[in-house]
């Protein structure tokens, strides 16, 4: 049958370039491998030239594939399943990109594109290391191309093609009609949960982090392949620093996203998907430190190899965890299973590099030079190594716990688990605590180590010298911690005093690290900022952890009845260890103010947004002085929800940011307005000031009309011109109620803000003014269910420390990277200013 209106050539073009990408990356890998084994310079170079051309062809192919998918999505060619599944016509342009990486195939493609860009950079910069390093990058490209191939080889399907057709993928009577395309009006569109600025920016950054971890791995391979076992460390180090910076920022972008828009109620929940990307970062940072140690002292080379290899192995393992559906029952946001074609390929990808990398490492283990004298305990390298080891072990701990669902799938082990545990393993009741109780110890050790270690010198430090220099920072940090204890105590009693003590120790350790690193820049480096990258990164990391301890430790749910004050008073059964009261949601009846923590919160009205089904709720937060009743603070938050036809709902929080804390709220339940249709009609009255109107239970008096009333008094949300009708409702039993409907004119147009007298089931509308200057007032009496929303609200204190700490850490990484690439002068300044301003904008300004 001939189908009408299809654009099949695009898919064929795209598919051709997928195959070309596969072939050319394979050729490139083979050519680079041969080149790396050739001794003869001329011969070697001719192979390299061939490999380069192949790599460029595959780069062009990958970009073309991306272009095809983008074109299909941008033009809503719904005959393609990709466009049908991910786009819809109402989507804004920026979300078209988000659509592409919402899909497994698209995100693999994104990863592949970064490999291309990094690869071209490596070709230009790595000189004698090019052949072995690029062998690895090209090999990874072979696998990534296979992910989107969707070709049958010997009866097995390899990967999933992004160019499959809707009519071949799903069944339906309409697909037997040649004009079926005219019947499909629109695609499914981007999941409303993902319609967010972070969805546009977080995946590319995270995948750049993912992609860049291959470089230290590739250099480690190059070290073994060329038998120049230690020489790779120096050229690999700047790339490793870059990778640690980008991956770290990418992970925390996810945290920021979770915090500000996914209603997770925090930036970190130890979700398996979060852990899976944190673990390679921890190992990479451990590797960075051992590489620095090797450069300075020739110690720790073997550890550097191991960490460089494991970083990439765990990137692949995280891909396996998040993309094969194995986390299905443990994570809320892993991809669902993509079928065996994908799963087997991902497993092959993982095993290939794991066995290859670790195999080469262990085969050559004896040949990798190691210093056989013992490091002294008063040397810098000793403590750096211990720090790296702690980082590495914490990574192993995290991945060990995250992999519980994997153990349940391994034959034999599975049976053993069921025998011992009485059923397949699952995380304990409080999964966050299961991680935190170990990680708080890690924070203590790392805090102290990152504070003192740099005061030691490599090889051997003068006895007493370190103690003398560290004495003052230690004292300041101790005093500061004591001061915090009294001024702003951590009130996390849920897990008992032992854990609270550990939190305080960690708070001391991180404070210590902040002070000691700042002092080191001052005294140890005499303020020479160019060499201060390490100190700045340590300071930032410590600040971030301190911010996490404070903001998580003192996070307060204020939408809960029992919190009458901001801080729970001491001695409120701290040791019961009972689970937090989950009754953390409160109903706000429209126009009725409700006490919530330090605030009185009123649900003023709701309004409909530009996008279909999106509804904003106008919540007024007011904090009054307890004694004088004067308003001290007042702001409006507009959390919104997408209310779907089928009763589905997706909620977006809104946050009031202060420097010291955030007030964070989201709608946890909203009435669906369609289901709560009010059939009663407004009855219009045309009257003058002072006139009376009647309703079933009494009468209303229009006292006067006020032009531009005082904004604060009546909670007027906008700056526009306003007309307010001051009305008194008088019931037959002579009870009186005030009502103030309004008309507002602002840049968005004219809007009427109706007022409601709930006690009388009465809606009052200011409908306008007639030509002969009479006032039109609408009255409606309704038996409709009262209008309310259910909200959840938190106060997050000092969360900005987390973001500022992260920015400092990233800047520290970049400073070290620039120093180690000998970039100086204007370029140095530009790179640094760009990094700082981009991060500052993303994490603190853009919301």
């Amino acid at each position: 049958m001939q189908f009408e209106g299809e654009h099949l050539w695009l898919g064929e073009l795209g598919h051709f370039f997928v195959l070309l990408a596969f072939t050319s990356s394979l050729l490139s890998a083979i050519a680079y491998f041969i080149a790396s084994r050739k001794e003869d310079i001329a011969e070697k170079f001719s192979w390299i030239r061939f490999a380069r051309v192949s790599f460029l062809i595959q780069t062009a192919s990958v970009l073309t594939v991306f272009g095809c998918i983008f074109y299909i999505c941008a033009n809503h060619y719904l005959e393609y399943f990709y466009a049908y599944k991910h786009t819809s016509k109402e989507l804004e342009f920026k979300y078209l990109l988000a659509c592409i990486w919402e899909d497994q195939g698209g995100s693999f493609l994104l990863w592949s594109i970064w490999h291309c860009i990094l690869g071209i950079f490596l070709i230009k910069k790595t000189k004698e290391w090019e052949a072995p390093v690029m062998t690895i990058v090209s090999l990874a490209q072979v696998f990534l191309a296979m992910m989107i191939m969707g070709v049958y080889l010997l009866g097995t399907k390899i990967g999933n093609s992004p160019f499959v057709l809707t009519r071949n993928e799903i069944n339906g009577p309409i697909f037997s009609r040649p004009d079926y395309l005219t019947l499909i009006k629109d695609g499914i569109g981007l999941n409303v949960l993902l319609r967010n600025y972070w969805m546009v920016i977080h995946p590319p950054v995270l995948f750049l982090g993912f992609a860049s971890t291959i470089i230290p791995f590739a250099f480690a391979y190059a070290g073994i392949q060329t038998k120049r076992f230690g020489d790779w460390v120096k050229p690999a180090l700047p790339y490793a620093l870059f990778s640690a910076c980008i991956l770290g920022v990418g992970i925390m972008m996810g945290g920021k996203w979770a915090y500000e828009s996914l209603s997770f109620g925090g930036y970190w929940a130890w979700d398996p998907v979060e852990n899976a990307s944190l673990v390679p970062w921890l190992i990479l940072v451990a590797g960075l430190h051992t590489m620095v140690v090797y450069k300075a002292t020739s110690h720790s080379l073997r550890a550097s190899y191991l960490f460089a290899i494991l970083t990439f192995v765990f990137i692949l393992y995280s891909t396996f965890l998040t993309r094969t559906g194995i986390l299905g029952d443990t994570s809320v946001h892993a991809f669902t299973e993509a079928g065996n074609a994908m799963n087997n390929l991902i497993k092959t990808f993982l095993w290939f590099f794991t066995i290859g990398g670790l195999g080469l490492f262990f085969i050559h283990y004896k040949k990798i030079p190691a210093v056989h004298t013992e490091e002294k305990t008063n040397s810098r390298e000793f403590w750096m190594f211990i720090g790296s080891l702690v980082f590495f072990l914490s990574a192993i701990f995290i991945i060990g716990l995250t992999s519980l669902p994997v153990y349940n799938k391994i034959p034999y082990l599975k049976d053993l688990i069921i025998k011992i545990n009485g059923g397949p393993l699952a995380l304990p009741e409080d999964p966050e605590f299961a991680y935190n109780k170990v990680m708080v110890m890690v924070a203590i050790i790392i805090g102290v180590l990152s504070a003192i270690t740099q005061y030691f010198k490599y090889k051997n430090s003068a006895p007493g010298g370190v103690l003398k220099k560290i004495a003052i920072p230690t004292l300041i940090a101790a005093l500061l911690t004591v001061a915090i204890t009294f001024i702003y105590p951590i009130t996390y009693y849920k897990q008992g005093y032992g854990y609270l003590g550990a939190i305080y120790l960690a708070l001391f350790a991180t404070t210590y690290s902040i002070i000691a690193n700042a002092a080191y820049i001052w005294s140890g480096l005499n303020g020479k900022m160019k060499g201060a990258g390490g100190s700045v990164a340590h300071l930032g990391f410590a600040l971030m952890i301190a911010g996490m301890l404070i903001s998580a430790g003192n996070k307060k749910v204020i939408s809960e009845d029992k919190f009458k004050d901001f801080i729970i008073p001491m001695g409120i059964d701290p040791l019961t260890k009972q689970q937090d009261n989950p009754a953390e949601n409160m109903n706000l009846i429209r126009q009725v103010s409700t006490k919530m923590g330090p605030y009185e919160v009123t649900y003023l009205h709701d309004s409909v947004g530009k996008e279909s089904n999106r509804r904003f709720y106008n919540l007024l937060f007011v904090r009054k002085d307890a004694a004088t009743k004067k308003i001290q603070e007042s702001f409006i938050l507009n959390p919104d929800v997408y209310l779907m036809k089928d009763n589905n709902m997706s909620s977006n929080p809104d946050t009031k940011n202060y420097f010291t804390h955030d007030v964070f709220t989201y709608i946890s339940y909203a009435l669906n307005p369609d289901k709560n249709v009010d059939t009663a009609q407004f009855k219009l009255n045309e009257i003058n000031e002072g006139d009376t109107m009647f309703y079933s239970k009494g009468y209303l008096v229009l006292n006067k009309v006020i032009k531009n009333p005082e904004r604060n008094k009546f909670n007027i949300p906008s700056n526009g011109a306003t007309l307010l009708a001051d009305i008194t409702v008088v019931n037959k039993d002579s009870s009186r109620y005030a009502s103030t409907p309004m008309i507002m004119v602002d840049s968005l147009g004219i809007s009427q803000i109706d007022d409601t007298v709930y006690a009388q089931n009465l809606f009052v509308k200011f409908a306008g003014v007639t030509e002969n200057r009479k006032i039109k007032i609408g009255i409606k009496e309704s038996d409709k269910m009262i209008d309310f929303v259910t909200i959840k609200a938190y106060i997050f204190p000092y969360i900005n420390l987390v973001w500022i700490g992260l920015i400092l850490m990233a800047v520290g990484f970049i400073m070290s990277m620039l120093k180690r690439t000998n970039i100086t002068g204007r370029l140095y300044t530009i790179a640094l200013v760009l990094t700082i301003s981009a991060l500052f904008y993303m994490f603190l300004l853009a919301n």
């Binding site: 991910h86 809707t166 993928e169 799903i170 069944n171 339906g172 009577p173 309409i174 019947l183 499909i184 009006k185 499914i188 999941n191 299905g328 029952d329 443990t330 809320v332 991809f335 669902t336 993509a338 013992e374 490091e375 305990t377 000793f382 211990i386 080891l389 072990l393 914490s394 701990f397 349940n408 545990n421 009485g422 059923g423 397949p424 393993l425 699952a426 995380l427 304990p428 009741e429 299961a434 109780k437 170990v438 110890m441 689970q579 989950p582 009754a583 953390e584 949601n585 109903n587 009763n647 589905n648 709902m649 997706s650 909620s651 946890s668 339940y669 269910m785 009262i786 259910t790 959840k792």
Partner: protein, 134 residues
């Protein structure tokens, strides 16, 4: 690897291992019938909403009380009480993971994980429905 290294490594590993042991209050994935045998123990149930029994949620009265009936593939059935707001996609989810404890005949649930076909749109049936109702 030096002697001091090994000593410290072992010490740290033991410390972490010890903590891990202490924390070995792992939960289990259970069926409804096996959960009923483990009264008061924190378990994970893999189940489905029983759509034949009406779900009880009246947010106007109490937004923090939801009760419904869950069934699993082995035919077990239990009443579930959840003291929180109703997860919005509950009625549409193909499969739910309920975390909590069996208290008598009622499953006191503290967390609900939903697997929604709409979430990552890989469920073909759902897409077919969407295509044909367009």
């Amino acid at each position: 690897m030096k002697r001091t290294h090994i000593v410290i490594l072992v010490a740290i590993a033991i410390a972490i291992g010890g903590l891990l042991m202490l924390s070995a209050d792992f939960s289990t994935y259970d069926t409804i019938s096996s959960a009923k045998q483990k009264q008061g123990k924190y378990v994970h149930l893999i189940a489905k909403l029983d759509k034949s029994v009406p779900l009880d949620y009246d947010p106007a009265k109490n937004p923090n009380y939801l009760s419904f009936t869950a069934v699993d593939s082995l035919g077990g059935s239990t009443k579930v009480v959840y003291h929180n707001t109703k997860p919005t996609e509950l009625e549409h989810s193909e499969r739910i993971v309920l975390k909590g404890k069996m208290q008598g005949e009622v499953f006191e649930c503290s967390e609900i994980l939903l697997k929604c076909p709409s979430k990552y749109k890989d469920d073909k049936k759902q897409l077919e429905k969407a295509a044909t109702t367009n």
